[in-house]
């Protein structure tokens, strides 16, 4: 039984964490909201007064807005599709009996621990460079014309790099989920003569649906704000400017803080829509 005394102690023990997170959330949020209603150009006149919802309207009506939404959707969608499809297949494969399973796991997980600036630069220069990249040797070897990856295929390039970083995450989580599958159920269905494909559709995939949803939501939240992968590769050029990169440029590069802040508010709303679904799953799990 928790006594009154221990309740007070518990509250004191939680106070620092709660206070810090509350400040971390509220102070910048209120400032962003404040700036979003102002014409604020730090390098060209500073605070030029209240403008109502002007920034919100201008942000969405600028010519860069819709292309950035499209780029964001293509990158997030492409990476999710690749990592989840291959993640499921890899998880099933890794769950099979084999020799040296531990080492294979280590090899597959490794990319997740490589810092984003390293993976982006290594891929950009040593693999996707049109003159010296390994991929262009590969293309030439098969008699094909090497691709100018970063300029002709900026979005696919970024999707490849980011998928390489996140495939380990998806695989690891799906593998954890698959290992909790009741093997007796699988054996029974095997004895009943169910084909591999039927077992996959009717037993494995339904069992994984929850883990797939979790991977989908968590990755979406992280992928919506990828930054370094664009910063060190294309710098937002060649149609690879995502919504968060556009906001970064408005705020820090062109120092149009009001406009960028309005974009920031849109990004916060978007992320919260995704977060609500994730929180629901996590919350349900907390009750058990």
């Amino acid at each position: 039984m928790a006594t009154q005394h221990s309740r007070t102690a518990a509250r004191i023990m939680m106070a620092p964490a709660v206070t810090l997170l509350l400040g971390w959330m509220l102070v910048p949020l209120i400032m962003t909201l404040y700036f979003s209603f102002k014409k604020y150009l730090p390098l060209r006149g500073g605070d030029l007064g209240w403008v109502g919802f002007d920034n919100y309207v201008r942000f969405v009506s600028s010519s860069a807005f819709w292309p950035s939404v499209t780029a964001t959707l293509i990158i997030v969608g492409g990476v999710l599709l690749i990592t989840i499809c291959f993640g499921v297949l890899l998880a099933i494969l890794l769950d099979q009996p084999m020799w040296g399973q531990g080492i294979v796991r280590i090899l597959i997980i490794a990319p997740f621990f490589v810092m984003p600036t390293v993976s982006s630069l290594v891929w950009k220069n040593m693999f996707m460079d049109p003159n010296y990249g390994l991929l262009s040797y590969l293309w030439e070897f098969f008699g094909a014309e090497p691709i100018q990856w970063m300029s002709q295929a900026a979005l696919p390039s970024i999707i490849i790099i980011v998928s390489w970083q996140w495939l380990p995450f998806a695989t690891l989580i799906l593998l954890t989920a698959i290992q909790s599958l009741d093997s007796e159920q699988l054996e029974a269905s095997e004895m009943d003569g169910a084909s591999t494909l039927r077992r996959f559709w009717h037993i494995i995939l339904p069992h994984l649906s929850r883990a797939i949803t979790v991977v989908l939501l968590i990755q979406t939240i992280f992928l919506l704000s990828i930054f370094a992968e664009i910063f060190v590769t294309t710098g937002g050029a060649f149609g690879s400017k995502t919504l968060s990169y556009l906001i970064f440029q408005r705020v820090l590069e062109s120092q149009n803080v009001g406009l960028g802040s309005a974009g920031g508010v849109y990004a916060i709303i978007l992320a919260n829509i995704v977060a609500i679904f994730l929180m629901r799953i996590v919350g349900k799990n907390l009750d058990n």
């Binding site: 620092p16 997980i109 621990f113 290594v122 040593m126 989580i173 803080v257």
Partner: protein, 276 residues
């Protein structure tokens, strides 16, 4: 019971898994190999794989030219400092939520998680401005604080799930034996909590080490960690593959090794207990 599997099927599984594993690992392997080549060999046509004159000169060039050690030190301070500070703040909070839960505990946990979902770019300018006003721009202290705050929800969540697994009966037994609160914490709870705390530290050092939004935007020459050190290679000058590889290898090696120890914690830490 293990299912009986023909050795032929096992061989096929093994070959397939090793093939895919090596393809996925290849970019890292290639980076490590290239770091030991000369710049000329690094762009040789056809590419050389293992048979070249191994050299360590790239490592010394990278250190001489860009002072690798200072960036490494900054990374260690930022990743280590933010994690330790986070742990100090999180342990009491997670402890009290796990052992003295109230009606609001769940709401507080969910709210803490929601602060993690705030997109960094949405609050970039306010933080940037506060850093200028407080003189924290390009300072290690400022980055330690920011990275501590962005990882605090994950630290609290991980610790909470670990503490939850400590059975309450053990505490009661200790109390019946007449243990004081102090000895209860010192001799009963702490030994059981240490593995969880260690795993939490491990995962958060990795996350902080690789963080590449705030570390790129809030630092310049003085406090930049390895993420910024590598980003400075994004504008190529002449032949630089071997040097880029050496710099990259040095930046990822420590964390790659730590990371391999933290596979299991990764799932727990990044799914907030939603996948077990």
């Amino acid at each position: 019971m293990a299912r009986a599997v023909s050795s032929r099927r096992k061989s096929i599984n093994t070959a397939l898994a090793w093939g895919i594993g090596l393809i996925i690992f290849f970019p890292i392997l290639w980076t490590i190999l290239t770091s030991f080549k000369t710049e000329g060999q690094a762009i040789a046509d056809p590419p050389v794989f293992l048979f070249f004159d191994w050299t360590l000169e790239n490592y010394s060039i990278v250190q001489d030219r860009s002072d690798y050690m200072r960036y490494l030190w900054n990374s260690v301070i930022i990743a280590g400092g933010s994690t330790l500070l986070g742990i100090i703040i999180a342990v009491p909070a997670a402890w009290s939520m796990a052992f003295v839960p109230s009606k609001r505990t769940k709401d507080i946990l969910m709210w803490m998680l929601s602060t993690k979902m705030l997109p960094a770019v949405g609050v970039l300018y306010p933080i940037y401005l506060l850093f200028i006003k407080l003189g924290l721009l390009d300072s290690l202290f400022g980055l330690v604080i920011v990275l501590m705050l962005i990882n605090l929800p994950i630290i609290i969540w991980m610790l909470y799930t670990y503490f939850k697994e400590i059975p309450g009966e053990i505490l009661e037994a200790a109390r019946m034996d007449g243990a004081s609160l102090k000895s209860e914490i010192l001799y009963v709870l702490t030994p059981m909590a240490i593995p969880g705390i260690a795993s939490t530290i491990l995962l958060n050092v990795i996350l902080a080490w690789n963080e590449a939004f705030w570390t790129l935007n809030l630092t310049a020459a003085k406090a930049g960690p390895l993420t910024a050190f590598i980003a400075s290679y994004s504008s190529p000058e002449g032949l630089f593959y071997a040097k880029l590889s050496a710099a990259s290898t040095m930046a990822i090696a420590p964390i790659l090794i730590l990371g391999w120890f933290s596979q299991k914690q990764l799932v727990r830490g990044l799914t907030f207990g939603a996948v077990k």
